[in-house]
Amino acid sequence: MRKLRSPILAFVLIVVSLAAAACSDADRKKLAEADDDFARGVQTALALDESLIKENLISKDDAIAVTSALLDVNRLGGQFHVRAETYGKSGGATKTELIGLANGLSASVVTLNHQGVLHIKNPNSQTQFVAAVAVMQGALGVLTAVLTGGGK
């Protein structure tokens, strides 16, 4: 019986380790996809911003405020991205660190939303901008759910 316990224990440990690694890989992929979605949300908002400027639907000062807010969001997104890439790797970012970065990112998106509502006067353009911000917020929702172990 004593001889049998060690191989069984070793087998159980291997199975548990493989399961843990699989979860980590799945979480990492979800993080990568949400990271990519977030970046594409910023890309779309920038395209809209550029279009508003070209069509003279936004004043220069308003455009500077919106573009600056987008730059801030993208830079914080970049900081999150650099650390998130290391998640699941030896010595990489921890969930706690990433949650902290995601919280900062979330606050910057709220500011961006306010800037858009305040500075984009054209109602249709404002709706489109809010939709682009909603994509970022949706991606943040996925990130937070993965990092807090809430599933998706």
């Binding site: 990492r28 990519d36 920038l46 395209a47 730059l71 998706k152």
Partner: protein
């Protein structure tokens, strides 16, 4: 309507259906079918982030350039 505007409208129509995280997770599923690894997706995101940064800086530079 110029092609850039059409492209933007198409993107925004797509965005309108992405408001709920559950829809984004479906898009994730579609992307997963593409067979990309997490590292490849992170690499794509990195390229988009760098391009966003360059574009935002360019827009700001253009806005701050005095016009005649």
């Amino acid at each position: 309507m110029n092609p850039a505007t059409v492209q933007l409208l198409l993107q925004l129509i797509a965005l309108a259906s992405q408001l709920a995280p559950v829809v984004i997770s479906e898009i994730e599923g579609i992307k997963a079918q593409g067979g990309k690894t997490a590292d490849e997706i992170f690499a794509d995101a990195g390229v988009t982030i760098a391009a966003n940064d360059a574009k935002a800086l360019q827009i700001l530079a253009d806005l701050m350039t005095p016009t005649e």
